[in-house]
Symmetry: C2
Subunit: 421 residues, 2 copies
C-alpha cells in the first residue's frame, strides 16, 4: 500500500517488487496464467457485491462533487457490467499466449540458429480516468502478456478500482501468479502521475484519458510512453461516392457511439458532391440530433449550419457535433487531414479506384479506410481479441494495442562454438 | 544551412522542409530510390578528392587539439574507406525495399480487407561522434526507408561530414530525391543537441556514441529516442563447457575488435570450471595483451589478476581489459548479468541442455547466445544487410536496427460500405 504522505519513496518500493515479480511472471507457463485468469473471472462474479458496494460509495461521492450524468454513467457498475468484465477475462484466457512465440527464425551462414522470440516488456504503468472496467481489462492483458502492472485509476473511481484490484489480486496470487505483480496506486492524482512518469522501473507507461492528461504525460515523461486515444477522425465524401453509402458511413461513424476515439468528428466533402450528397447527409445527422458546424462554403449551402472556428478543426468533440468542410480535390482533403487530424482513423467514401489509392497512400494515420466506418478501429474488430487502447504514435505500436504490442523480442542465437572472423 | 547564431529557429525551418520533403520521399518508387543510391555511390567515388581534402583539415585540427591516436584513426578517411562507403550505398540499393510491404493481411468477418502496411516514420534525427562513414550509412539507410534525415556529426569530423553530405545531397537531388530530405547540421554541439532532442518534427532521434551522450539524450529528450550501443557484454563459462570452445569464444569476443559494443567486457565462470578452464583462458587473453581484473576468488586463483572495483562490473571498457567473476551457479550468473549488464549481448558456453535453456530464458538482453561469440550481434551478420546501430531498449526495436526498424505501419481497411453495429 502506498503511503499518501510519501508517494514517491513507497512507489519505488512497490515498483521494485513488481519488477522482481514480473521476471517470474514472464517465465510462467501459459496454462498457469490462463487458469489464474479464469479464477479471477470467477472471483469477480462471486464477490460482485463487494464491488457494487464500493461503486455505490464512488457514485455518492461523485454526485456530491457534482459529476456530470455522462461521467456518473461511465463510473456506474451493474451486475451486467461486472459480468462483462468477467467474460473479458475469460476471453483473454482463451487468446493465444504471445510469450515465447518465435516471430522469425533463420540460420546464419556459419550454422548458428537465430530466433526472434517474443518476451514480456517488464512492468507497465497505466494511468486512466473514470471507467472502472479498465482496471479489469488492464490487469488481464498485462498478466497474459507476462508483464507486471502499476495502475493509477481516476480518483472518482478509487473505491471501485481498489475493490476490483483486491479481488483480482487475491484470485491471481492464490493461482500461482507471483505476489506483487498487480498494483493499484492510490493517492492524490497529480503527485502519483508525476512520480510514475519518471519511474525507472517502468518499461512502458500508457496514459488513457483526455488529451490534457495524455499531453502532460508525453511532454514530461522520462520513461517510454505509448500515446493512445485522441481521435479527430474525418470522413471524406469524394464526388464519385455512392450517396446512400456515404450517408450510412457518416451516420455510423458520428452517432453510433459519439464518445469514443474512433467516432468521426469532421466531414470533408468534394465540392462536386455538395449538391448531390450533402443535403441528405446533413438531414440524417440532424435527425439524430447532431449539431452541425461548417466552413463558409458549407454555410452558403445551408445557412442553418453554425460557423466552425479555427479551433474546431483540430478538436475531438466526443459529442453529437460535427464540422463540415467543402474541399476542391482529394489532394486538399489529404493535406487537410494530415494537418488537422490526430493520425487515428480516417475514411474516404468513393467509387473511384485512383482516388481511393491516392487517399490511402497519402493520409498519415494509424488506420485509413475506404468505404467503411472509422468505428472499426478496435482491437476486437481487428481480431486481436482485446486491446488496451489505440496507439496514435508511430513507434513500437500503431493502431489497436493488443497482447502482442505489450511485448518485446529477444534474439536467441544457438551455435556450436562459432566465432567471428 | 543553419545559422550558428540562431540554431533553434533555423533548425525548425530546416526540419519543416525535411518533413515536407520526407512525405514525397515516402511515396517514391523503390526504383527511383535505388537509382539515386547508386548515383550517390558513383559521386562519392568520383569526388573522393574533395572528401579527402576536407578530411585532411579535420585531421590537422584534431592533431592540434591533441586527439588520441585511436580517435584520429577513427576520423581518418582513405581511398579504401571511401570505396567501402560507396559499396555500402550500393548494398543498400540492392536490399529489398521495406516500404509498402504488407506485413500481414486478413478479412474482417463483415468482409473488409485489413492490411498492415509498412510506411516510413517521417524525419529521423541522428547524433553521432567521430567516424565520418556513419554520415554515409545513415543517409543511405534513411533514404531507402523513405525517411528524411537530420544529421549531427561530431565537431572533430565537421569538414569531412559536410563534404560527404554535400556530394550525396547533390547526387540524390539530381536523381529525383526531394530537395531538403538530407541535412547535415553544423554548429556548436550542445546547442544543436539540445534543440534536436525537443524538435517536434522528429519522428525518431538516434544518438550514437558514448554512454554520456546517450544518457543525456535519453534523460532530456521530449521526442522519441532509440537507445543504441552501450554494450557491457558477458561470456559465462558453465562447468560443462568444452575447454577449447570456451577459450576461442572468449578470445574472439574480447580481442577480435575490442572497441565495439558487441565485444565482451566480462567473463563469468562457474566455480567448478575454474581449475579446468580458467588458466588456459587467462593465458590466451594475456598472450593477446589483455589486462585482467577480477573478483577476490579469481585473484586467489591467480594472484597476477588485478582487483576489480565495484564500478568495473557495470563498465564498458571498449579496450583490451576484461574483468573475471567466479560464480556458484548458472542462476547466479543470470542474476549478475541482469543486474550489471547493459541488455545488449550475453553468451553462455555449455554442453548442458538444461543450463543453456535456463540461461536463454533467464537473461534479459537483446541477444542471448549459446556457444557462439557475442560479436555476431550486427545487422550484417543477422542478415539485415545494414544497420544504424544496436538497440538496447525494449520498445519499437531491439537488437540490430535495420531498414525495417526505421519504419512504422499503417492499417489500410478497404470495404464496400460496412458500418459497425
Amino acid at each position: 500500500m502506498v503511503d499518501l504522505d510519501s508517494d514517491e519513496w513507497n512507489l519505488k518500493a512497490v515498483a521494485q517488487q513488481a519488477q522482481r515479480s514480473a521476471v517470474l511472471l514472464g517465465q510462467l507457463k501459459a496454462g498457469v496464467k490462463n487458469q489464474a485468469l479464469r479464477a479471477m473471472a470467477k472471483a469477480l462474479r462471486s464477490d460482485q457485491s463487494e464491488v457494487l458496494e464500493a461503486n455505490t460509495i464512488d457514485l455518492e461521492t461523485g454526485r456530491q462533487d457534482g459529476l456530470s450524468d455522462a461521467l456518473l454513467d461511465r463510473l456506474k457498475l451493474t451486475p451486467q457490467r461486472i459480468e462483462a468484465m468477467a467474460v473479458a477475462l475469460e476471453q483473454i484466457a482463451a487468446l493465444k499466449d504471445p510469450i515465447g512465440e518465435v516471430a522469425a527464425g533463420w540460420k546464419h551462414p556459419d550454422g548458428m540458429e537465430i530466433r526472434r522470440v517474443r518476451v514480456p516488456l517488464g512492468v507497465i504503468g497505466i494511468i486512466y480516468e473514470a471507467r472502472p472496467n479498465v482496471t479489469c481489462d488492464a490487469i488481464g492483458l498485462c498478466l497474459k502478456s507476462g508483464n507486471g502492472v502499476l495502475l493509477k485509476g481516476g480518483r472518482e473511481a478509487e473505491n471501485s478500482n481498489q475493490a476490483i484490484t483486491r479481488i483480482l489480486q487475491e484470485a491471481a496470487y492464490s493461482s500461482g501468479i507471483p505476489q506483487g505483480c498487480i498494483q493499484q496506486l492510490p493517492g492524490t492524482d497529480r503527485a502519483i502521475v508525476d512520480a510514475l512518469i519518471r519511474l525507472d522501473q517502468l518499461a512502458l507507461l500508457i496514459p488513457r484519458g483526455g488529451s490534457g492528461l495524455i499531453d502532460y504525460v508525453v511532454r514530461n515523461a522520462t520513461v517510454p510512453v505509448l500515446e493512445t486515444g485522441v481521435g479527430n477522425c474525418h470522413i471524406y465524401i469524394e464526388r464519385s461516392a455512392d450517396v446512400e453509402m456515404a450517408r450510412r458511413i457518416v451516420l455510423n461513424a458520428k452517432v453510433q457511439r459519439p464518445s469514443v476515439c474512433n467516432a468521426a468528428e469532421k466531414l470533408l466533402i468534394h465540392r462536386d458532391a455538395v449538391l448531390t450528397h450533402l443535403e441528405l447527409v446533413l438531414t440524417s445527422l440532424r435527425d439524430q440530433g447532431v449539431e452541425i458546424r461548417g466552413c463558409p462554403r458549407t454555410i452558403a449551402f445551408d445557412p442553418r449550419v453554425k460557423p466552425a472556428l479555427e479551433e474546431d478543426w483540430g478538436k475531438e468533440y466526443l459529442d453529437k457535433i460535427i464540422a463540415v468542410k467543402i474541399v476542391d480535390s482529394t489532394r486538399e482533403a489529404i493535406d487537410w487531414i494530415n494537418h488537422y487530424g490526430s493520425r487515428h482513423s480516417e475514411a474516404i467514401v468513393t467509387d473511384n479506384y485512383h482516388e481511393a489509392v491516392q487517399f490511402t497512400d497519402g493520409v498519415d494515420a494509424a488506420a485509413v479506410y475506404v468505404n467503411a466506418s472509422t468505428r472499426f478501429t478496435d482491437g476486437g474488430e481487428f481480431g486481436f481479441g482485446a486491446e488496451i487502447g489505440i496507439s496514435t504514435q508511430k513507434l513500437h505500436a500503431r493502431g489497436p494495442v493488443g497482447l502482442s504490442e505489450l511485448t518485446t523480442i529477444k534474439y536467441i542465437v544457438t551455435g556450436s562454438g562459432q566465432t567471428r572472423s
